[in-house]
């Protein structure tokens, strides 16, 4: 089953050296997951200051600056992984380095037919 791991972290939680260490461990984790056939995708996001929210009401487009919700920690990136069950997904989440300062939300993906498999 596919799981999306959403990485929430206060944008100024890490010092420069902590951040560099975190990158190394994150990259190692993705390579390890890839070798085990469990890696589907991962990416950091740009600052939440650059988020835009879009709604359409009565056919009219309403665009606001900022994320969907203002939160104490911000969505900083995501992983998409293949795991047998929630326990395995939790095992992967606890290896994401910023789990010790931020929060990882795990969401099972709903498999539906008709979505493209390749970019």
């Amino acid at each position: 089953m596919k799981y999306q791991l959403l990485v929430y972290l206060s944008e100024n939680a890490l010092s420069d050296s902590e951040r560099e260490a975190c990158y190394l461990v994150s990259a190692q984790l993705t390579r390890h997951l890839h070798k085990e056939g469990k890696y589907l995708d991962a990416s950091p996001l740009q600052s939440v200051a650059l988020a835009t929210s879009v709604r359409v009401r009565s056919g009219k487009r309403v665009v606001t600056d900022g994320p969907f919700a203002e939160t104490h920690e911000q969505l900083g990136g995501y992983y998409l992984v293949e795991a047998d069950d929630l326990d395995e997904a939790i095992g992967i989440a606890e290896k994401i380095p910023v789990v010790s300062v931020g929060t990882i939300e795990i969401r099972p993906v709903l498999e539906i037919p008709g979505l493209p498999k390749e970019p």
Binding site: D41, A51, R107, P108, G114
Partner: protein, 123 residues
């Protein structure tokens, strides 16, 4: 440039649609996915299971803490995401505003960072 589009909708609102209304929304969404794919603008798209199935993980002082439920309780819930190629933010907003559930909920558009930057996390 790649943009992650996060689709938030009230789960109760989607579940209260009649079978016909849901069929129409579902087909409209799947054909928009096809259209974006044909245009080469879609990288991936996935619906998520209910936010009730979410688990949230933290590690503090080396100890694992797992709680049921999403990171934040919100009136609308993250119901899925689509990752697109867009020229710029305006193009990404254009794509997001045609996603059918933008009429029911909200789409948050976030530019991806191409690799983790060296000098500092956020520019």
């Amino acid at each position: 440039m790649k943009y992650l589009c996060l689709a938030y909708e009230e789960e109760n609102v989607l579940n209260s649609l009649s079978r016909n209304e849901w069929d129409a929304l579902r087909h409209e969404t799947l054909s928009y996915v096809e259209e974006l794919k044909t245009r080469g603008q879609l990288v991936s798209a996935e619906p998520l299971q209910s936010a009730r199935t979410a688990a949230t993980v933290r590690v503090r002082s080396g100890k694992l803490a797992v709680t049921d439920g999403p990171f934040a309780e919100t009136k609308e819930q993250l119901g899925g995401f689509f990752l697109i190629n867009a020229r710029d933010l305006n193009d990404a907003i254009q794509v997001a505003s045609k996603w059918p559930s933008a009429r029911i909920g909200a789409i948050e558009v976030r530019p991806l960072e191409e690799g983790l930057p060296e000098e500092r996390r956020y520019r």
